[in-house]
Amino acid sequence: MNRWIGPFATAAVAGLAAHVYTVQAAPAFIMGRAMDAMEQRGVPLHAFSLAPRTTPQTQTVVRPSPDLAYSVCRYDFDQLDGPLTVRMAAWDNYSSVSFFDGETNNFLTVRGDGKAREVVLHGPAPVSSRAHRSPTTKGLILIRRLAPTQADYDRVTGVSASDLCTADPSPAPPPALEPQP
C-alpha cells in the first residue's frame, strides 16, 4: 500500500497546481486571444475603430448587444512614452467609455450623459495618486452608444469620427476670431 502513497501525492499536487494555474491564467489568456483577434481584424493600436452594427453575422465577441454601437481602442504602454488621451464624442442617448486591463477587469468607466468626455490614462508605473492608471500594460477601451436602430447606428458613424485614443492629442482648436472693428 505504501508504494502508492508517492504517486497519489504526486497526482494530488499536480492536480491542485494545474487547477489553480488554469483558473488564474484563464482571464489573461482569453483577453490576450481577444486582443490578438482584434488586431488581425484590423483594429488599430491607439485609435478607435467603430465595429459594424452588431448582428449574428458580424459578432466578434461573446454576448454582444445588438442595441449598442461599439467603438474599440487597443492600447499597449510598452509602445508609448507617455499617457494615452481618450476622448469620447457626445451622444444624445446612453453612452459610456470603459477601460479593461489585460486580465478582463473593468477598472474605469465614465458615463457620457450627453456630453463629450476625456480621460488621460497612464501606464502601470506609479504616477500621481489622482491620475487614472491601467493595472496592466495592455488593454482595451470600449465606447458603448445606445443605437437600437439602423438610423441610430448611421448617426453613430458620424459622431464616432470625433472619438480619440492617442498618445499625441491634437491641440484644442484655436478660438474663433473676433470680427475686426
Partner: protein
Amino acid sequence: MSETGRKSRRGLAYGLALVIGAVAGGGSALALSGLFPGFGAMSDGTVNLDGWKADFSTGSEAADAYTRARIARHGLLALARTEAVYFTRNTDDQGERLREGCRYRLSGGKMPAQWWSVTLYDAESRLPMNTDGALSLDASRAGEEAWSATIAPQAPDEGLWLSSQGGGQFDLTLRLYVTEARLIKDPVATLTPPRVERQDCAGGAA
C-alpha cells in the same frame, strides 16, 4: 523483478500520476469556470431572482477567480455593477430548459434602470445565426409600462418578437444600465424580473 525493472515501473507510476493529476486538475478548473464549450455559460450566479441569475462582482477585481474566468469566456468586456448589471436565465418559469422548439411569452414592466434590454443567445453565448433582426428587445421599444413579447422561431401575427430561430437550447440576458442604487443592496425588493411562460412546443408538448 530486477532493481532496474522496479525503478522503471516506479518512474512510470509517477509519470502517470503527474499526467492524471494535471488533466484532472485542469479539467476540473475548466468545468467549474464554465470554460468547456456549452458548459456552465452565464446562468450561474450569486443572485437568483425567479430564475434570473446575476453575479454583481462581474467586471471587477473583487470577482473570485472562477467568476472572472467564466465572465472572460461568456461575458468578455462586461461592465462593472456601477454601470450595468446582467441577469441571465436558461429556464422558463416552470424550470424547463429554454429551447428553440417552444413558444414563450416574455412579459414584464418598468425596470429600476435608465435603460434595459433582453437579448437571446445560443449555448455558445453567441447571437443565433439567423437574419430575423429580432434578437433583442429594449426599453425604447417595450415602453415604460407593462409589456410582453413572443419568443419563437417564427414571427407572431402581432406584437413584439424575439426570434429563437437557430438558438437551439438558448438563454436570455437582461441588461440593466445605470441602475437605481438600491438594486445592488436589495435586488429582491427592487426588481421584478420579466416572466418567461412556456406556451406550447413543437410536437404538442407544452
